[in-house]
């Protein structure tokens, strides 16, 4: 097996407190710290480990979005990816981009670079859709192994472990395949400073959705984005009677 394609989404950093825009069209992204989606980081790490075990020869990282995505891709390159593809989508258009759009781009790219495995995080921590891997697999008509916690290659088959409710599920997937990384697949390494410096010299290809013949027109409208309602403080009741009367006051019994 030769080539691994890894999806790298740029998301608002997990430590940032999310604020909704005053006009309710979305969340504030300007001047907010962004980083590589943590699950994608696990995906990159898995690819790098495959390369270290000599079951992969080349890792290509791909990210869709505004120009700052190149910083995200540099992180993947610093971790050990060999090259990067940045699919430039201006901020304005990126607002409407959905999992399907990205999946189409990933699928096309996988074909184009002759990938044997596509690895993505199980979900991104901003939209939490958790469907890109599945869609890519469908579009390519490849086997899919999602939410994986372990992967081993035996001959031309990936032996996969998935964490499911109440236990572990073992499956196999023939290559080429699409896999999505769950939290416990691995612990990603730190990008070291020398590697970050080296990453600056690694190749970064710039593309547009048009190059992949993907139509970005929106299939849905965002009506409104609002903060979750804040919880109000409760009260302690002295007795059952108190409780019942409070419930009655609240009109729930």
């Amino acid at each position: 097996m030769a080539r691994v394609l890894v999806g790298c989404k740029r998301v608002i950093d997990y430590a940032v407190k999310i604020r909704v825009k005053p006009d309710k069209t979305g969340v504030v992204k300007q001047n907010v710290k962004h980083s590589l989606n943590p699950f994608d980081e696990i995906a990159v790490e898995e690819a790098v480990r495959m390369k270290e075990k000599k079951i992969a020869t080349e890792i290509v990282a791909l990210s869709c979005g505004p120009s700052q995505c190149q910083e995200t891709l540099r992180t993947a390159l610093a971790m050990g990816a060999d090259k990067a593809i940045h699919v430039e989508i201006p901020d304005k258009d990126y607002e409407h981009v959905t999992s399907l759009h990205v999946s189409k781009i990933l699928a096309k790219a996988a074909k184009e670079i002759n990938a044997d495995v596509v690895i993505v995080g199980k979900q991104s921590i901003d939209d939490d859709s958790a469907q890109t891997a599945q869609m890519v697999a469908a579009l390519l008509d490849w086997p899919q192994a999602t939410f994986i916690s372990k992967a081993e290659k035996v001959d031309n088959v990936l032996k996969i472990t998935r964490e499911i409710d109440g236990g572990l599920e073992n499956i196999t997937a023939k290559l080429p395949a699409v896999i999505s990384a769950d939290l416990r697949l691995n612990e990603p390494r730190y990008a070291t400073l020398p590697n970050i410096m080296k990453a600056k010299k690694k190749p970064m290809e710039k593309k547009t959705p048009k190059d992949f013949e993907v139509d970005l027109s929106s299939r849905f409208d965002v009506i409104s984005v609002v903060d979750p309602p804040s919880r109000e403080a409760g009260v302690k009741v002295e007795s059952v009677d108190d409780l019942v009367s409070k419930l009655k006051d609240a009109g729930v019994v």
Binding site: E71, R74, Y190, A191, T192, L193, P194, M197, A199
Partner: protein, 649 residues
């Protein structure tokens, strides 16, 4: 570029002056001038080009993450060593060669980029900070600054990778602040191929673990003109493997425990002649240049420490309820938090101003760097102490983590030039520089009939000053919303220049008193002592200057001069940074403006007080008394006053 200085009388002694001196803001306040090229606009704003900025952005995250998730400061403190896996992680991270050029295996960071990263280290673990700093900020800095290509190629790659550790070895049992008095000797072998090194060094950071030492030793040097042989300091790169190098056990310390400190001994160590660093007899310059170049990093690291102390204090003040209110609502707490924030702002502004000026090629920043170290170490101590006060009893508990920071911080006021000696350094360097520019006044004093008009004018100025009237000089470059602050800065600089001039007159007067040969002779003698000391590349013979002023017993005054200089520089850095914030409309600019206004107001007051004390009659009595109290106590080997309960209790 060296320029012959014309003010000097003695033609035999060459007094050379680096033209770049004239650009140093701090040097020039000593002559009452506002030379603001290195202050306005805030140099840190544009010191990083796009690429360097991007690189830095990429580096900040992994370094922060490493210190948040891998490094355990409490554990390092407890074990009195950096945990093994952390040390390995630091090596992989590339933390041991941050400023080593990429060609030699380092990260190739500029001073500003380096400052930003050590700020992160400082906010988490000062012990690790010292281990890293002792290695690269001073340990092998001499090789990057003065090493030839062979020396760089031979040593830097392994040092940058952390495969070898470096240590700066200057201090000796009998030689601390007075670095010129070292006794370690290096003598050329008969065949001229190597030096034989003998001596011992104490309190060497990384001394027990280092493989490469920058060692300072006295070597006999023949003066080409006079033919006399004199002992001069030379710097050497010494490998532990050269033989005869041994080190003592790790010292038990109050803080920065995970950083190794040990004695180092050299016994007939053979050092090849090609390992001389920076030239034979040039060691004092090498030693001082290394320290000068490292000081900005301390200020940056300490600003990180202050930030984390403030975060702890604020978190507590916000959540702790006493007398039915969160304690941050009380004035006593508010004043503390505001003081911490202002001092942090000043430290951070100076650290990045010095770093940026160095990156922009400034050659003369020794006073500025010294001020940033003195101010930063005292501001950080204040912040930690104040944070502890806000947290109350909780802060005294080990788990809160502040007591460790306090123990770690204490050394910063002591090492790499004690704050006391650096204050004298600041005052003396500046005063001497001003002396050159005051030549007309001083010459007129020497012979009053030659230029009576000048003296009258100066006398009027002095009289006005003594009544608190100064004509402020204009400081150009501050944001229009900070015009009032710029005026205050201008007033301070004018007052300061005047005070330095007055001090020169006091000094001349005293020289007169001490000299039996009359006024003219005394002045001339004084000039011989003070001005004739040759300096190269901006380095005077500091020891001689100290002893000169000690003889005149002026340290009470010099201290206040240094205090005022520090306030003026910190004020200028604060105004400059705040101006930049206002100009670019940062979201925090209004907040910064309040900090700036308050800081400048308070600093101006301090400058006035300190300068006032130089000449006020009560203070002359105070200085005299303090000297007396000290002398008597020393003579008695302890306090003298009778016990309040009397008798021999």
């Amino acid at each position: 570029m060296h320029y012959k200085n014309q003010f000097y009388y003695d033609n035999q002694q060459k007094f050379v002056m680096d033209i770049l001196y004239r650009l140093s803001f701090c040097m020039n306040i000593f002559r009452g001038k506002a030379v603001t090229e290195q202050v306005f606009p805030f140099p840190a704003v544009d010191v990083l080009d796009e690429e360097r900025k991007e690189t830095l952005d990429a580096l900040v995250d992994p370094v922060s993450k490493f210190f948040e998730e891998v490094n355990d400061a409490a554990k390092n403190d407890e074990l009195e060593k950096i945990e093994d896996h952390t040390l390995e992680g630091l090596k992989e991270l590339g933390a041991f060669g941050l400023q080593v050029p990429v060609d030699f295996g380092g990260i190739g960071l500029s001073n500003t980029q380096y400052a930003r990263l050590v700020e992160i280290v400082g906010s988490h673990d000062l012990g690790v900070g010292i281990a890293l700093g002792a290695h690269q900020s001073i340990g092998f800095k001499g090789i990057t600054l003065f090493g030839n290509e062979e020396q760089k190629a031979k040593y830097l790659p392994k040092l940058a990778a952390g495969q070898e550790f470096a240590a700066y070895s200057l201090t000796e049992p009998a030689s601390g602040s007075d670095a010129n008095s070292i006794r370690t000797k290096a003598e050329l072998s008969a065949d001229g191929k190597h030096y034989v090194l003998n001596g011992s060094k104490i309190w060497i950071s990384n001394g027990g673990i280092a493989d490469i030492f920058t060692v300072f030793a006295k070597t006999p040097v023949k003066d080409s003109k006079t033919g006399d042989t004199k002992d001069k300091i030379t710097a050497f790169i010494v490998e532990r493997g050269f033989g005869g190098v041994s080190s003592g056990p790790p010292e038990k310390k109050m803080g920065i425990k995970c950083s190794n400190t040990a004695e180092v001994y050299f016994e007939d160590t053979k050092v090849p002649v090609e390992n001389v660093l920076g030239g034979v007899g040039e060691g004092f310059k090498v030693a001082m240049m290394i320290l000068n170049n490292g000081r900005f990093g301390m200020a940056a690291a300490l600003s990180g420490t202050m930030k984390s102390c403030i975060a702890k204090a604020v978190d507590h003040a916000q959540n702790r309820k006493q007398f039915a209110k969160n304690i941050h609502e009380y004035g006593a707490i508010q004043e503390k938090i505001a003081e911490m924030v202002m001092r942090h702002y000043a430290t951070e502004s100076m650290a990045y101003m010095v770093a940026a000026n160095m990156d922009k090629g400034a050659k003369e920043f020794q006073i500025e760097a010294a001020i940033s170290k003195v101010y930063g170490s005292e501001a950080a101590w204040f912040c930690c102490d104040t944070a502890m006060q806000i947290l109350g009893g909780m802060s005294y508990m080990k788990d809160t983590g502040l007591e460790r920071v306090m123990r770690d911080l204490r050394i910063f006021r002591i090492f790499e030039g004690t704050n006391d000696i650096l204050r004298l350094f600041v005052a003396l360097t500046g005063i001497q520089y001003a002396g050159g520019h005051l030549r007309d006044v001083l010459a007129a004093l020497k012979s009053p009939v030659s230029n009576p008009g000048l003296l009258v004018g100066k006398a009027v100025e002095k009289a006005k000053r003594s009544m608190g009237v100064v004509s402020p000089i204009s400081v150009v470059g501050a944001h229009s919303e900070l015009a009032a602050e710029a005026d205050k800065l201008g007033t301070c600089i004018a007052m300061f220049g005047g005070s330095v001039e007055d001090l020169w007159q006091i000094v001349l007067l005293m020289t007169d008193l001490y000299s039996p040969s009359g006024r003219v002779g005394a002045v001339h003698l004084y000039f011989l002592i003070i001005c004739s000391k040759q300096y190269e590349h901006g380095l005077f013979n500091f020891a001689e200057r100290v002893s000169c002023f000690c003889f005149l017993d002026e340290q009470f005054l010099l201290w206040r001069i240094a205090e005022a200089a520090m306030d003026i520089y910190s004020m200028s850095a604060v105004i400059s940074r705040c101006s930049a914030a206002l100009t670019s409309g940062l979201p925090s600019s209004e907040h910064e403006k309040v900090i700036c206004q308050t800081y400048v107001e308070k600093a101006t007051q301090r400058v006035k007080d300190n300068l006032g004390e130089l000449t006020s009659t009560p203070h002359q009595a105070i200085f005299k008394n303090m000297s007396l109290i000290s002398k008597q106590t020393v003579a008695n080997a302890g306090v003298i006053a009778q016990h309040p309960l009397g008798g021999s209790l």
